[in-house]
């Protein structure tokens, strides 16, 4: 819990999610041109591309085949077959091309592409900047999207400068050569510099910060390490050994995965302490009136909470556990004794 970040509850857009009414129509409108542009394509491959089961796909194909117009003369505009697991569209009428991109769709991709281009610049990433693939893709997508591309310039994801260029270079080298690294790593919750060997797995940029994910041989577990907290780093002449069962963290669900062993802490916050609820994921947030908040959070590290309470001063009081509140008072009076 010592890293800051947040995973406040929020609903991802429901736009086009599988199973809704509009999603199926969108899929059907894309399915015909998908096959037409490939002339012939396998059922399994197509189902995978559309994120549906083969059974659902066959149901879609049957529905398309059944479309009938009655006037002036009855006819079926779409003719297709999927014998032997291969889809062929022999007649597609006016359905042979996909629908143009909506503003949201064009924006989602363009905003992300521009962010990647910026990462390429700040991190001088081969693959992201070499060959200018990003700039070419952005230009082509803008051209294809036409007017729908315009609002995308009103959304931006700014990428922080990665100050640790040397560390980043070393880590990429270690990842490429599958080498173990030795880290001197600062843990703010304990105000400690820790020494550990890590077998690197991947680099991540989450919520604007750059992390190394790796198998920590000190914790015997997958851990995330912030690059800006690495005090020093050595690439060792030892092969990295990430255990076969080591799963990358599901960062999409947030960076913090509270455990049942964590300490439950209740803090009451004055208006000037409300930032705590913004910075750290809380299990419960309750308004107490006059801008005061009561938050419940979980942490494996009581030291982190003591530091937080000292930082908050009169703007935050630990309500529970009581023993922790007493420790904070002891910490404060010990510190004040230095000023006597």
């Amino acid at each position: 819990m010592s890293a800051s970040g947040k995973s406040a509850p929020g609903k991802p857009a429901q736009h086009g999610s599988a199973g809704t009414s509009t999603a199926r129509l969108q899929r059907l409108l894309a399915l015909v041109p998908y096959v037409v542009s490939r002339k012939v394509v396998g059922l399994a491959e197509t189902a995978a591309a559309f994120g549906v089961s083969e059974r659902e796909l066959v149901d879609d194909l049957n529905l398309l085949w059944c479309v009938e117009l009655r006037s002036p003369d009855p006819y079926c505009p779409i003719d297709l077959s999927y014998e032997g697991g291969e889809i062929v569209v022999s007649q597609a009428e006016s359905m042979d091309r996909p629908l143009r991109l909506a503003v949201d769709e064009a924006s989602a991709l363009l905003v992300a592409l521009r962010m990647l281009a910026e990462i390429g610049q700040v991190a001088s990433m081969p693959g992201l900047d070499e060959g200018q693939a990003l700039n070419r893709t952005i230009a082509k997508l803008e051209a294809a999207a036409g007017e729908a591309a315009t609002p995308s310039t009103q959304v931006a994801i700014q990428v922080d400068k990665i100050a640790q260029q040397a560390v980043l270079g070393q880590l990429r080298d270690a990842l490429a050569r599958h080498r173990r690294v030795h880290l001197s790593y600062y843990v703010p919750g304990r105000d400690e510099a820790t020494e550990r060997d890590v077998d690197p797995m991947r680099l991540l940029i989450v919520e604007g910060r750059t992390y190394l994910e790796g198998w920590c041989r000190r914790a015997d577990a997958v851990r995330l390490f912030r690059l800006d907290r690495m005090l020093s780093l050595d690439v060792l002449d030892v092969a990295a050994e990430v255990p076969a069962g080591a799963e990358p963290k599901d960062v999409d669900q947030g960076l913090f995965h509270p455990s049942a062993d964590d300490l439950n802490v209740v803090i009451e916050l004055a208006p000037l302490g409300r930032w705590v609820a913004e910075y750290y994921p809380c299990d419960a947030v309750e308004e107490l009136g006059d801008g005061r908040l009561r938050v419940t959070l979980r942490t494996p590290d009581p030291g982190w909470v003591r530091r937080l309470a000292l930082r908050l001063g009169e703007n935050g009081k630990i309500v529970a556990p009581v023993s922790l509140a007493a420790q904070v008072r002891e910490d404060a009076s010990a510190a004040l004794a230095q000023y006597a």
């Binding site: 947040k6 929020g10 609903k11 991802p12 857009a13 736009h15 086009g16 009414s21 509009t22 969108q26 059907l28 409108l29 015909v32 041109p33 529905l63 398309l64 117009l69 006037s71 006016s94 091309r97 629908l99 143009r100 991109l101 909506a102 503003v103 949201d104 769709e105 989602a108 992300a112 592409l113 962010m115 990647l116 082509k140 294809a144 609002p151 009103q154 959304v155 931006a156 105000d191 400690e192 991947r202 991540l204 989450v206 919520e207 604007g208 750059t210 999409d252 947030g254 960076l255 208006p271 409300r274 006059d290 000292l310 930082r311 908050l312 001063g313 404060a332 010990a334 004040l336 000023y339």
Partner: protein, 331 residues
């Protein structure tokens, strides 16, 4: 959605897309199976169908085939409907997949997936396998993002309750939004605040309750030359660290503050007063270091978090602020 409705909507799209002429409601009912017999029931269903197609971004046009017609008809012009040709090289398709993954669980995930679907339908082979060694992610976050993005996209003014830092009560604010920016992993909206008659930046996490539209689409004018990233950057940029603090730090502790420190080599404080402490490695178990800072209040909170391991010596206002902070924690 029922299969019948899907069939009907699909038939409607194919019918209007294939026709070079505007088709009247009556002609449409005759051509597309699945509409009810009663004309009133048909009209209601047809109205809803048109709305659904427009929500999908299908350009449904209304017009007359000739000036003499007394009833308007409908068509979907092919040119407005189709995605223009797009051909991507393998490396371009790879970065496109990576871009779609950025949103994965975040607000525009559905839109990114929808875009990828259409591009695949246009013949682009965007496999989900791009390897770059570095993976950027946005996390699902702010409830206010959706409505604010809509407002920015459609040029609509909004109103919302906002609790500025340290305020006890949220205030109702009115904003003509210019753009939404993610900075240091947090979302902000920038725009013209009509209550304050000035450009303002708001943090989405401090918006309370619903964001409501307070004016029609297209009524927000973004001033020419506006760079929303720059607006947010200026607002968020911390003042340069211009002052210098002299601190005593217990040996083996205070790593978080030492990282920004410059040692005081001759054991003197920055004002030249001798004998106040000792440089690194001093025998009394304490080091004296100097650290740049800008805001005494904020820096005092930071120093207080180190408890008895860090002591502020100088300047006096910083020292007082730390003492106040610690007394607050003691109370």
């Amino acid at each position: 959605m029922s299969r019948r409705k899907t069939e009907r909507l699909l038939g409607l799209v194919v019918c209007l897309l294939s026709s070079p002429r505007y088709l009247t409601a009556v002609q449409i009912r005759a051509a597309v199976p699945g509409y009810p017999e009663s004309f009133e029931a048909f009209k209601r269903m047809f109205e809803r169908d048109k709305e659904e197609l427009r929500e999908l971004g299908i350009p449904l046009e209304t017009g007359f085939n000739s000036p003499g017609d007394d009833e308007a008809g409908y068509r979907i012009p092919r040119q407005a409907y189709v995605l223009p040709e797009i051909r991507l090289e393998p490396d371009e398709a790879a970065v496109l997949s990576l871009a779609a993954r950025v949103w994965r669980q975040a607000e525009l995930a559905g839109a990114a997936a929808g875009a990828l679907l259409k591009l695949r339908a246009a013949g682009v082979d965007a496999e989900d396998t791009a390897q770059t060694g570095i993976e950027p992610r946005l996390l699902a976050g702010e409830a206010a993002f959706g409505p604010l993005w809509e407002a920015v996209r459609d040029g609509r003014p909004v109103m919302f309750a906002y609790r500025a830092a340290g305020r006890s009560e949220p205030q109702q604010r009115h904003l003509q939004p210019w753009g939404v920016v993610n900075r240091h992993g947090r979302w902000y909206v920038a725009g013209y605040d009509s209550d304050r008659d000035a450009a303002r930046v708001f943090r989405l996490s401090r918006i309370e309750g619903d964001v409501r539209f307070s004016g029609p689409a297209g009524s927000v004018i973004v001033p020419a030359g506006t760079d929303v990233r720059e607006t947010v950057r200026e607002w968020d940029t911390q003042p340069r660290a211009e002052r210098t603090a002299v601190l005593r730090v217990r040996q083996g502790a205070g790593h978080g503050i030492r990282r920004h420190a410059t040692p005081v080599p001759d054991g003197s404080a920055s004002d030249g007063t001798p004998g106040r402490g000792a440089g690194p490695g001093a025998a009394d178990g304490w080091d004296t270091i100097s650290v740049p800072f800008s805001d005494a209040g904020w820096f005092a909170e930071h120093l207080a978090s180190f408890g008895a391991d860090v002591v502020a010596l100088d300047p006096a206002d910083l020292r007082e602020a730390v003492i106040t902070q610690l007394k607050g924690a003691l109370a």
